[in-house]
Amino acid sequence: MSHFNKPNYSTGTKKKKGIPAGLYTKCPASGEIVFNKELEDNLMVVPKSGYHFPLGARQRIAALFDPETFVEMDAGLRSADPLKFVDLQAYPDRIKKYEKASGLKEAVIGGVGKIHGIPVAVAVMDFRFCGGTLGSACGEKITRVIEAALAQKIPCVIFSASGGARMQEGIYSLMQMAKTSAALGRLAAARLPYISVLTNPTTGGVSASFATLGDVNLAEPGALIAFAGARVIKETTKQTLPAGFQTAEFLLRKGLIDQIVGRHELRDRLRDLLTALYLKKKPAPAA
């Protein structure tokens, strides 16, 4: 279920915090060389080709909300080790490593803020923390964001970036799919809008729960969106996979997602959609 296929960066030197380190990066789409400073200033989108590198949760939050409106929730919530799981490494050691490398405490950041003045409860996943996998802490934080939307009667937006389930938490990881989906059931019953934004990659248990349950499901360009990994499908079916299989563009063509939205247009798309589904009326233009 989990796929730890890391995004492919071509970097001059070593990787740091999932952001290409060194001075410049080669665009995987066009082959052009981009200065990292330029990339970072452009939300990790290659200016000419439009190629979207993964964006850290903090950077995304900074770019998403109206200035000074975001209030983080449950920042101290982190993973425990309920199964005392040891594979080639002990699970708590892996967690420490990810904390150090990403500067995050969990694979998701949650909170409430405003987008073009519209209040929203938001969860943003970060692939750099344990492949964005869904463990108990991650599931709990996402559920609390959904419940915050419900309590405050505001819309909910979740940005997914995940390899799927957190295997080291076994069945508890699987049950986070049920927990988050049950919370979304309550949100739907309250007729509060939920917009899901699928970013690269959104796979396994995350794609099979909250990520595909939006009233509107948006995806970033080029994002890998899948239930099963391509390798597993190839091995099981012995078939050649269609070109572009499991990309956002493929899903749009098949009618499985609503729109592909580039990072720079996202704030405005969310404004329009939330205005339609939540405010239901265009606000009067500012005098």
Binding site: G76, D87, S136, M167, I171, M177, K179, A182, L256
Partner: protein, 326 residues
């Protein structure tokens, strides 16, 4: 009781002993020699070996029993504990998934809706049932039947037995992720009592897709896991051969799942596995379902949903302010 077959690797000592027993019996028959004592001796040894082997099954051995080719499947139990099962086919959109079946039946004289993952017994049926791996249309058929159950107030009984949802091209093209996700959400909100039973394999999201129920019961040797032991071993141990270690680490066996609060009851199996006496296993399942349905029928509409929500709301363990929470 059927004559047990010892096909699993760890049953080798039993295979050898039964072969010896057969040989002695044959010899006694052919030569007319009195081998009574010798035969009795082997029988004692067989009993001792059974006790030794089946009382100390490890996680991986239990997984083998859960996958046993002669293990009773969902429809075997339906036939043993229900009456007048009327299968209802198809998702009304694309296809009829033979890996995930359903329909109305009577349990203790009361109408219920059955949804069941079904494996095939012989090669032809195995293929037709896609080895118990459902596709989006299977999950959408299940949803349709859940809604029918809700409309007519029938309790829902689901039977889980799948290695996982099918990893195929068509499955992805028809959005298996979304089909499962919608079921999770809708099952959580379904206004009728529901019980699921893990009959054999509880393979990940594919199992959960019909498993968000008020109660979850599991047979003693069944497993329920976020990933197959082989898959987990390949990813975390970088070695599919480490499946036995992964099976231990994942805590996927029935007794462990009960301790973790994920299942509500473990249903005992006949010695060596349910395949050794399906009738006995079915009787134990019947008693369990009777108990749970009775308790659930006592919960009225909103209360039922509230209790179900809380059941899933509190699954998981995390740390907050340096304290572990569940």
């Amino acid at each position: 009781m059927e004559k047990p077959v010892y096909t699993l690797e760890f049953e080798k000592p039993l295979r050898e002993l039964t072969a010896q027993l057969e040989q002695l019996r044959q010899q006694a028959l052919e030569t007319g020699t009195d081998l009574h004592n010798e035969i009795a001796g082997i029988e004692v040894k067989i009993e001792a070996a059974q006790r030794e082997i089946y009382s100390n099954l490890n996680a991986w051995q239990r997984v083998q029993i859960a996958r046993h080719p002669r293990r009773p499947y969902a429809l075997d139990y339906v036939a043993l504990i229900c009456e007048n099962f009327e299968e209802l086919h198809g998702d009304r959109q694309f296809n009829d998934d033979r890996a995930l079946v359903g329909g109305t039946a009577f349990f203790d004289g009361e109408a219920v809706m059955i949804i069941a993952q079904q494996k095939g017994r012989e090669t032809k049926e195995k293929i037709a049932r896609n080895f118990g791996m459902a596709q989006p249309e299977g999950y959408r058929k299940a949803l349709r039947l859940m809604k029918t159950a809700e409309k007519f107030g029938l309790p829902l009984l689901t039977f889980i037995d799948t290695p996982g949802a099918y990893p195929g091209i068509g499955s992805e093209e028809r959005h298996v992720s979304e089909a499962i996700a919608v079921n999770l959400r809708e099952m959580a909100m379904l206004r009728v009592p529901s019980v699921s039973v893990v009959v054999g394999e509880g393979g990940s999201g594919g199992a959960l897709g019909i498993g968000v129920t008020d109660r979850v019961v599991i047979f003693e040797n069944s497993y329920y896991s976020v990933i197959s032991p082989e898959g987990c071993a390949a990813i975390l141990w970088k070695d599919a051969g480490a499946a036995p270690a992964a099976a231990e680490a994942l805590k996927l066996n029935a007794d462990q799942l009960e301790k973790l609060g994920v299942v509500d009851e473990v249903i005992p199996e006949p010695f060596g596995g349910a395949h050794n006496d399906p009738t006995q296993a079915a009787a134990a399942l019947r008693r369990s379902l009777q108990k749970h349905l009775k308790e659930l029928r006592a919960l009225e509409g909103e209360k039922l949903l509230e209790v179900r929500y809380e059941r899933y709301r509190h699954l998981g363990v995390y740390e907050e302010g340096g304290v572990a929470h569940t």
